[in-house]
């Protein structure tokens, strides 16, 4: 279990040094009023000019030292906050990348995103502020308390009586505050979701004239967020006045008990007077304490949200299994695989197929029939409960996830391009030589259009590659999949935006240039898969028919219907 302490621990030494420096600075500052009262009460009346200068100089030196110490300590605090935040953010992003797909689905991306940015930001603020305010205020409070005890323990006890109430107020509010700030962050997630959806769907929204509707929808989440913010802040707003009230209540108590004690001759008025001045000191530092608690509540709420993700299971926790091996003469095998995403109904049932090295499998079927799910399982985004999948004769659960995945070149549905050069989008962090990249582009039929871009491979794509057309995007994605000459290629609907001519050239290239690559092609068009060694026709997660194009065209009704709709009529025209 990770928690905030895990991340603070490595910087303990640094924090303690900072703490000591800050303490020294604080004591130096506390020294100043002493020197001042000495100058005024003793030295000035004595009229010793040289002494005045001496003590005045001492004051200047003390305050100069206080300045240096305070700045040093503050900077030290910032450094600790920086280091802790850096590490937490690093681990959190790391976790977000390795999170199992089930977990990512459960958290939702906008929520993970806001934990990574907004929550770490609040935490950063808290860690910095706590170190800066967290030393001075307690020192003054505790120092003040000790002084009151030295003065008159009985009166100090009266004063002490209100302290438990203060602690109760602080603890109650702070714990409830954490819960409320969690709600604020959650409401913030919702607000972010709407903004995100709108920036993605702006064309549709404008096309459907839904701008007023969306404004209204945002208004709803915005008001909800405002409500949660107000509720949390109100909860916190009570702390400061309540603390002050209790403190002054104690003061009245001291005066009343003090009056009695003076009357009995157990105490002098002067002491009560001195009590009052410590009171002022304590009260001022308590203000800082309550401010700290507000920040603490908010920071802890964020910390809890962050730690929740950090402690979720990730793919890094997956250890290589020891499942029995399959048949080594097949490059790829599904053996009676049944799978369900949510455990409600089976998304795939009893899927079996096997491919030898260099063979190609085509999958065709209605949307939602489970085509893409087969690829997800092969990449082990989700774990199967029944059946087994073998790669080169080994159960895929016997591979480490990265070891497994690096054997594949993949183009997924909805695949993503990011803001960087075309070359970087193709290389995608891998060591790919220029020649290899060019070859991949050529085979993906992308060479011509990339050649026409400004700066060619150095052309900068926008987020999601919106400055390319749909067909161009697919060809960049195909280049990415080809670039590392993988042993296996998984192409999910990767040529749907290509025109027939380009698609035909792509198929030709696949066949001629990658004879040893084992492929699975998921397609909508019969023409994309008709040359495959085997074709599966899926319906509702079940294999409805299998065979070559000619076989299926002969004896599978579903396949015939699909083929007919696409080519049948046209052939006889």
């Amino acid at each position: 279990m990770k928690n905030l302490r895990t991340y603070l621990r490595p910087w303990m030494k640094m924090m303690i040094i900072g703490f000591l420096i800050k303490t020294t600075g604080t004591f130096l500052e506390l020294l100043l009023p002493g020197i001042l009262s000495r100058i005024i009460d003793e030295i000035v009346p004595a009229g010793q000019m040289d002494q005045i200068i001496l003590w005045g100089a001492l004051m200047v030196i003390a305050s100069l030292l206080a300045l240096i110490f305070n700045i040093t300590a503050n900077r030290n605090a910032s450094r600790v906050a920086r280091n802790v935040t850096r590490n937490i953010r690093h681990d959190l992003f790391d976790k977000a990348l390795y999170l199992t797909c089930e977990k990512t689905d459960a958290y939702t991306i906008p929520s993970i995103e806001s934990r990574l940015t907004s929550d770490t930001y609040h935490l950063h603020r808290m860690i910095g502020m706590m170190q800066r305010l967290g030393v001075r205020a307690p020192i003054i409070t505790i120092g003040g308390l000790i002084m009151t005890f030295v003065l008159d323990p009985y009166l100090a006890l009266v004063f002490l009586a209100v302290i438990p109430f203060m602690i109760i107020v602080l603890v109650l509010r702070a714990t409830r505050g954490v819960a409320m700030y969690k709600k604020v962050q959650k409401a913030n997630d919702k607000m972010v979701t709407v903004v995100r959806e709108n920036s993605q769907g702006i064309r549709v929204i404008k096309a459907l004239s839904k701008v007023p509707y969306e404004k209204n929808r945002f208004h709803g989440v915005n008001e909800h967020l405002k409500g949660e913010e107000v509720r949390a802040s109100r909860m916190m707003a009570m702390i400061n006045p309540a603390m002050n009230f209790l403190l002054y209540l104690g003061m009245v108590g001291v005066i009343l008990v003090g009056a009695r004690r003076v009357d009995l001759g157990l105490c002098k008025t002067g002491r009560i007077l001195a009590f009052m001045s410590y009171f002022q000191m304590i009260s001022r530092s308590l203000m800082a304490v309550s401010r700290m608690f507000i920040m603490y509540s908010r920071g802890m709420a964020s910390s809890a949200r962050i730690m929740e993700v950090l402690n979720s299971s990730s793919e890094k926790d997956i250890v290589r299994g020891t499942y029995p091996d399959g048949d080594p003469q097949y490059a790829l095998e599904f053996r009676d695989v049944t799978f369900s995403y949510l455990g409600i109904r089976d998304n795939l049932q009893h899927i079996s197929f096997r491919l030898k090295k260099g063979q190609t499998l085509g999958i065709i079927g209605a949307t939602g029939s489970g085509k893409s799910t087969i690829l997800s399982l092969l990449l082990r985004f989700y774990d199967i409960k029944e059946g087994a999948i073998y790669l080169n004769g080994r159960d895929i659960r016997n591979y480490a996830p990265d070891e497994l995945r690096q054997m594949f070149g993949v183009v997924m549905q909805n695949d993503f391009l990011f803001r960087d050069t075309v070359a970087e989008n193709i290389r995608f962090g891998r060591e790919v030589s220029f020649e290899k990249m060019k070859r991949a582009e050529k085979n993906a039929q992308a060479l011509a259009f990339i050649g026409e871009l400004d700066g060619q491979e150095e052309y900068e794509l926008t987020t999601k590659g919106t400055n390319l057309s749909g067909g161009q995007r697919q060809r960049v994605l195909l280049s990415r999949a080809f670039a590392a000459d993988p042993g296996f290629l998984l192409l999910d609907d990767s040529s749907s935006a290509l025109d027939y001519k380009t698609d035909a050239a792509l198929r030709k290239a696949l066949q001629e240039e990658y004879p040893d690559t084992t492929m699975i092609i998921v397609a909508q068009r019969v023409s994309s898969i008709k040359n495959c060694d085997e074709i599966l026709v899926l319906e509702h997660g079940v294999i409805n028919g299998r065979g070559t194009h000619d076989q299926l065209n002969e004896n599978n009704e579903l396949y015939q219907a699909i083929a007919q709709s696409q080519m049948g009529g046209a052939l006889f025209d």
């Binding site: 929204i205 993503f416 001519k501």
Partner: protein
């Protein structure tokens, strides 16, 4: 599609006075509440001032052993209690008022930003990362909120105390006040100088945080691809460098900003030392009494305390200002050109569309559409085909007025669309885009989106027409199933079907289909085809599709290459012409 590069306003250049003025405008919207907050603060502080007054009197009333005037002590303690209760209640009220003001202002700001976003031309969203927009609307505004709720009052009360104490000090000794004529300008100078150093750092800090957010948003939306390619480490490495920049800029701003508070405290201490020194000299010259020196020092503490306090919050104000700059810069981004005053409001059009010698370029020197002309009679279906990058999507963008042509005219029912309101123009179209867009909401809400009065029966009807009804009914919650953004139980094809159903529900006269069927499998497509034909009946339809079955039904096919129509006619005519279209068509039998 290439972006149209419009330089956005440099947010670091906005002068502080302008930022302050604009922030003040928000505060003034709540002037009565603000006034109330100032009054409660003042009264609360006043009550607080009386507490030591009464406690002093009470202590005096205690007097000596055996002579304690208990009645008097009790009475004074009673007064004290009144002040204490008043102070606490007023302080609490002030807090509540401030919370109301600041939360209203931030909610208003968020709303303004969002409303403005929706008025922005669509390419704004291609130019700006969603993550950066989100960072402005969430924590930049948050930062402003934090500052508004505390710093304003700190400063307001400071001003009052500072002025009051200064008057008192001037009364006691003008000579001693000379000290402040030296140190106060020094404080102002240092604070101003620091502000100048720190300001760009705070701007940078907000910007870097925004960039980090943009990166995170982008990468997380591609997390499956990253996994598939095993590139987690590479991406993490890139994240690290952005993270490093974000935390370092934060640190740098802190590093420079943290000097201010202690330095001002130091100068205040310095002035105390100078006062006692100068006071000593004056005392020796019999120009001041010891009592007056003490009193002067007491007031000087009250004078300099708020100044230190204000200097302490300076860092927060700076960060709020740079956050405001980012928010205001977004609000200053030019929105879509406003409709003409006398713009025509289109209503129930027949659906005739004409384009006349339309030229358009996203970037000035690169024309995408070169003199395109076409005319579509009501109810006709126009198929636009051609290689990728030929400008097919651009035509749609121009029709919908996502962009306006550089020259040439587009007419709907004879009205130049430049002189129609955008909203009414867009209402005349329904549209199915390449990118399926569904939002977090129920299936019913998603399909009825765009048709306010649609009933469940209507939704069921269109869902049956696109053959998705059975699928929806197989879900546990049927039409009430909530779609989330990466929902596992719904495929891209199903999403596409839903957007088609959404378009079917819309009773507009013109229809735009942008590769609408590319993700629908052929079995379903056949059925959709029939439904679609039904949908197209009586509507002017523009289809961008590669699918033969769609294209064949078209009344006219435009073959586009490099922004020019190179062939036009029906399927049969084009095949007979044996041109580019025929070669594209024949390509599907190759390989």
């Amino acid at each position: 599609m290439t972006e149209k590069t419009k330089p956005s306003r440099d947010e670091t250049k906005m002068p502080s006075s302008e930022v302050a003025k604009r922030l003040m405008k928000y505060v003034l919207r709540h002037k009565y509440l603000t006034l109330a907050a100032v009054v409660t603060t003042l009264c609360g502080n006043l009550a607080a001032l009386y507490i030591p007054h009464y406690s002093g009197l009470a202590i005096d009333a205690i007097g000596e052993m055996g002579h304690v005037n208990f009645d008097n002590v009790l009475r004074l303690c009673g007064f004290m209690m009144v002040c204490i209760v008043l102070n606490s209640v007023l302080a609490y009220t002030t807090q509540l008022l401030l919370i109301r003001i600041s939360s209203s202002i931030t909610a208003e700001m968020r709303r303004e930003v969002f409303d403005h976003l929706l008025e922005m031309p669509v390419n704004f969203f291609d130019r700006n990362a969603a993550g950066d927009i989100i960072s402005r609307i969430s924590y930049d505004i948050d930062t402003i909120n934090a500052s508004l709720s505390s710093d304003i009052v700190t400063i307001a009360t400071s001003v009052i105390t500072v002025v009051g104490s200064f008057i008192m000090m001037m009364r006691i000794s003008r000579t001693l006040c000379i000290v402040f004529f030296i140190t106060t300008p020094l404080i102002f100078y240092i604070t101003r100088h620091r502000a100048r150093v720190v300001r760009p750092l705070f701007s940078k800090r907000s910007r870097k945080l925004g960039e980090l957010n943009g990166f995170v948003e982008e990468m997380l939306s591609g997390h499956k691809t990253i996994k598939a390619y095993g590139q987690e480490k590479t991406i993490l490495g890139r994240f690290d460098s952005r993270n490093e920049e974000a935390v370092t800029t934060y640190y740098e701003a802190d590093y420079q900003g943290s000097i201010v508070g202690p330095t001002v405290t130091f100068i205040n201490n310095l002035s105390l030392a100078m006062i006692s020194g100068l006071g000593g000299v004056l005392f020796l010259n019999k120009a001041i009494s010891i009592g007056n020196i003490s009193a002067f020092i007491l007031y000087s503490k009250r004078f300099s305390g708020p100044i230190s306090g204000a200097a302490e919050v300076m860092a927060e104000i700076q960060s709020a200002f740079s956050a405001s700059r980012r928010v205001f810069a977004l609000l200053d981004e030019p929105a879509e050109k406003k409709d003409d005053e006398d713009a025509v409001v289109l209503d129930h059009v027949q659906g005739s569309v004409e384009m006349e010698d339309v030229r358009f370029s996203y970037v000035p020197e690169r024309e995408i559409i070169h003199g395109l002309s076409l005319s579509a009679e009501p109810g006709r279906m126009i198929a636009i085909v051609g290689p990728t990058g030929a400008g097919k999507t651009t035509i749609i963008n121009l029709l919908m007025r996502f962009y306006d042509p550089d020259s040439g005219v587009i007419r709907v029912d004879g009205h130049d669309i430049l002189h129609c309101t955008r909203d009414s123009l867009r209402r005349q179209f329904s549209m199915v885009l390449q990118d399926t867009w569904l939002f977090q909401g129920t299936i019913f809400e998603n399909i009825a989106y765009g048709s306010e009065n649609a009933t469940m029966d209507d939704v069921v009807r269109v869902c049956k027409a696109v053959e998705i009804h059975d699928f929806v009914m197989s879900l546990k919650d049927g039409y009430d199933t909530v779609l989330s953004d990466d929902g596992v139980n719904i495929s891209k094809g199903q999403k596409q079907l839903m957007t088609i159903a959404r378009a079917m529900l819309n009773e507009s006269k013109m229809l735009i289909l942008d590769e609408a069927t590319s993700n629908v499998d052929s079995t379903t497509e056949q059925k959709i085809q029939r439904a679609m034909l039904q949908l197209c009946r009586g509507k002017t339809t523009f289809v961008i599709a590669h699918r033969l079955s769609t294209i064949k039904e078209a009344d006219m096919i435009l073959v586009l290459q490099n922004g020019t129509v190179i062939e036009r006619g029906t399927h049969e005519q084009l095949l007979a012409a044996k041109g580019f279209y025929a070669s594209l068509f024949n390509a599907q039998w190759e390989a």
